[in-house]
Amino acid sequence: MARAEALPRILPRTATRRPGPRRPWRAIALFVGPTLALYLAVVVYPILVTFYNSFHTLRMDLGMQYEFVGLEHFREILGSDEVFWKAAGNSLTWGLVAPLIDIPLAFVLALTLYARVPFAKFFRTVWFTPVLMSYPVVGVIWLWVYNYDWGMANLLLRAVGLGAYAQAWLASPATALPALILVTTWMFAGFNMVVLLAAIHAIPVEYLEAARVDGASGWRRTLHIIVPLVRPTLVNLAILDFIGKMKQFALVWVMTRGGPMWGTETVATYVIKRAFEWKTLDLGYPSAIAVLWFAIIFGLSYGLTRLLQRREALQF
């Protein structure tokens, strides 16, 4: 830079600079520097601190006094913390069940719109809407839907003569988690549908036409042409759905606070409770939970990706 600067500017700059290993360092620093600084300060550094914290007891009431405890927290979490296991079970259930409901439902909805239902564009617009709302908003609306006396859910059951099944959905440990899973389905089915619809529309029409000429029924065209071709999208959406549900916090916080009887406690809500609501006032223990959960999410996401994509490779 500087050398080129010193020459009289007769020639355009490119002519004086030999192409080669000289890097525009100043520009790189300018473009990447601010991002890197923020990323290091707000993402990398806190992660390192969390790892460090997980080996210590860290008393908030004593002005953040550190005391080294080694792997003690991890031993306690895995060995004797029943709430953690309950929460991990709930999060895993949510993470594995939700994609199994969300993705097939979204796929069926996408196929319906692909079959040129009248007003398809209008329906697509409406179905996508729930994903634009915040969890607290969705949570409050669904608290009302599940209300025992006048909620929509029970109203509907009573209307079709199944009034015997009407119940306080969020009050019993058996139904609370399924009720919350239904809420996330309501939120994300339209979103997944839109992505899948785009994937289906990207399939060359000739393939489907050729199959039709060969006499393949609509059902078989779906199974043998559409499904294999949108499979990467299906897998991708399932993994994203899984990760999202493993992090689930806000909906639970607003609707049930993890109750009844830890029936909807997730790992994320448990971490927050241990850090700020329990009287232990120790940040080390919840940090250890976070580290553990981080490892589990990463391992499972990687495993699922490998598993689902391996099957794909075997198909061809």
Partner: protein, 275 residues
């Protein structure tokens, strides 16, 4: 026959539409009715419509404040993440700016999309307290920008990487330095891609709850999602007013969505499509 079948498909489609839109429409109806009216019949139509409830929510129930906080945080965060993300995406995407370890660094940034927020949350709480940024909107904005940078960089890098080399050279021959070239030539070209990230990020910031609930404990700087969570416990029985609040929190986004639905769909799904 085929036409008939297409119309028959409307039956499940309408059923799903009722499920999808019903709860929200019900809330919208309740937002225009007084709580007394609602307790008398939960599914009545909003006749007469009590539009004054919106005014009451705005002035007496603090929604003006919460709305302002949400707007400040969302707009500031979007501006910052767009500028930083576009610059970084540009440097990560063009061969001219290759520097040692650039690809592993990008991979690390990209991987952090999968990190559960808890892995940073508690330490961030400590750090924010330490640097007097706890309970400030500034602290919240810094955290928001950092958490949305990875996806923004990822999306914009893909766009900048495919701009032809000739264009870059042409700009340089015209005497543009790196800075001028970026803002005068490259950034304007990337505006469609930038628009999708703006929408995606804005909705994320507008609706974010976890960081807000941990980092903000004072009422006067609560954002809308936070306010709603507190109002649920404070005025559980004032359903009518709560419904009005929910509408205030969602209408700005939904109004924009009605006008720009294609952009919204593109923006929101940008992170989900394998590119």
């Amino acid at each position: 026959m085929r036409r008939l079948r297409r119309w028959l498909l409307l039956v499940p489609v309408l059923a799903y539409t009722a499920f999808s839109a019903g709860p929200y429409l019900w809330t919208a109806a309740m937002s225009l009715r007084t709580t007394d009216e609602i307790y008398r019949s939960h599914y009545g139509l909003p006749i007469p419509a009590h539009w004054e409830k919106y005014h009451a929510a705005w002035t007496q129930f603090g929604y003006a404040t919460y709305f302002r906080n949400s707007a400040i945080v969302s707009v500031a965060s979007v501006l910052m993440v767009t500028v930083l993300g576009a610059m970084a995406g540009f440097a990560f995407g063009r061969s001219r700016y290759a520097f040692p370890l650039r690809e592993p660094l990008f991979l690390l940034i990209f991987l952090s999309l999968m990190f559960p927020p808890q892995i940073m949350l508690l330490a961030l709480f400590q750090i924010l307290v330490q640097y007097r940024l706890f309970n400030t909107l500034t602290g919240l904005v810094l955290v928001y920008v950092a958490t949305e940078l990875p996806l923004t960089i990822y999306l914009l890098r893909a766009f900048f990487a495919q701009i032809p080399q000739e264009l870059e050279e042409a700009a340089r021959i015209d005497g543009c330095g790196d800075w001028t070239m970026f803002w005068r030539v490259m950034f304007p070209m990337a505006l469609p891609a930038v628009a999708t990230t703006v929408i995606l990020n804005f909705i994320y910031f507008w609706n974010e709850f976890l960081y807000a609930v941990v980092f903000i404990t004072q009422q006067r700087i609560r954002t809308l999602p936070l306010a709603i969570q507190f109002l649920v416990s404070d005025q559980y029985f004032d359903i009518g007013m709560l419904a009005t609040g929910l509408m205030i929190a969602t209408l700005p986004v939904l109004a924009l969505y009605v006008f720009l639905s294609e952009w919204f769909v593109k923006g929101m799904t940008a992170g989900a499509i394998k590119g």
